[in-house]
Symmetry: C2
Subunit: 243 residues, 2 copies
């Protein structure tokens, strides 16, 4: 099948690595990219450390067509993503007028002060374009092939919705699955033969144990629906107990 565009994600935040927060953005983005025909190839989760973020951004933006980041663009002292992205590309980072105007209007409307801390959310690397935030106004931004978004899931999701239509996707990846209530060891032989005979699809086997029963969900993926149908039919014939 034709190669789809590739993407990577960088999750920034000590709270994920300490186990305090369970990340939700990776799973959301993965699903959205798959629907859009973009292949998510790698995710990295790193701590709130300037040099580590810079290194990860440089590595991922050099290896994949598009990079998405989440986290670290709020008003507090541990929000250091904007400067790190700027440094990764060797550009300055400062308060930008259009971002400041968005925030000013937002806080004016609520009778709140655009103080020094809130103004930090208008720090944008030179040359970046803003990503709209319909949830809480403070914008994300796109610099070269890196889309920088908030970590709060509702805001992250809104920003993904803003960015995704601007990206060229490939063929959406389609999939069908069969649940075979037998141990993977019984399935693996015929499955491997089928995978070898059908390089035009990718076949994954995801084992489970439920109420003492061993089984596996077999997922067949391709951008070619007819190719998937053929393999699923062959699988169902080989394992009549599949459902």
């Amino acid at each position: 099948m034709a190669e789809n565009p590739t993407a990577a994600m960088l999750v920034i935040g000590d709270e994920i690595l300490s186990g305090r927060t369970r990340d939700a953005n990776m799973h959301f983005l993965a699903g959205e990219l798959t629907k859009h025909g973009i292949t998510l190839k790698e995710v990295r989760v790193v701590s709130d450390d300037h040099d580590v973020i810079v290194g990860a951004v440089q590595a991922l933006s050099g290896s994949f067509e598009t990079v998405f980041t989440s986290g670290g663009i709020g008003p507090t002292h541990d929000d250091i993503t904007a400067e790190a992205i700027a440094d990764a590309f060797g550009v300055p980072c400062g308060i930008r007028d259009d971002a400041r105007a968005l925030l000013q209007a937002h806080y004016d409307a609520r009778g709140q002060e655009l103080n020094e801390a809130r103004l930090r959310m208008a720090r944008i690397p030179d040359g970046a374009s803003l990503i709209e935030n319909p949830v809480s106004t403070a914008p994300g931004f796109t610099l070269q092939n890196v889309h920088v978004m908030a970590g709060v899931p509702s805001v992250f999701q809104a920003m993904v919705a803003s960015v995704l239509p601007s990206l060229t996707g490939g063929q959406p990846l389609l999939s069908q699955s069969l649940d075979i209530p037998r141990g993977e060891g019984d399935i693996a032989g015929p499955l491997g033969d089928l995978a070898k005979a059908h390089p035009e699809v990718s076949i994954g086997s995801y084992p489970y144990q439920r109420d003492g029963v061993y089984g596996a969900n077999i997922v067949v993926r391709s951008s070619d629906g007819a190719a998937i149908d053929k393999v699923i039919t062959a699988l169902a014939a080989a394992f009549p107990e599949a459902r």
Copy 2:
């Protein structure tokens, strides 16, 4: 505070990157390591691709004291982790007698055949030691500083429990949190000052929006409980509405 030992995690599996499966092992491991006094510094999620796994294992095992992997050690054609770990360290990988004996006993007891596919789960890189799997027998393994474990969460968790007592931890990281029902922009100034005055703790701010109310959970972390108490007391005095 004293530096704790560092760790990284490598999650291997197309199903995570396609959005089909939401990974649960990262969050579990993060919490267990924090309790054990080991600092999780980075997580990478990569696809079922031999060269990519080899590269990630080499990068992470060279940068951190301990590496944990999840996924790709089952019996099917897409389970390629054992060979990739072996290649990362330049050692051969083959069926090993002690692993085969474990599997033979397991399948004999159930009247099932230890067929060619199941035997793949006895592939162990030369020089590795086995990690016990009390859930479904097929072992994980430890090669140098890399612990290779299953992706099925119940098995992953059991293997972590087998490995963790053998690792030297530092001081367990303690934490206390305060919920301040005000926007981060109101909190950020005093919080930044407090962070600067107390480098012996780390202070994180995790904003939320609930029923239209903006607030933030402020988490103070350190291995020194008295230092945390002092900062929490100062925070509560600065924000009387905190709870």
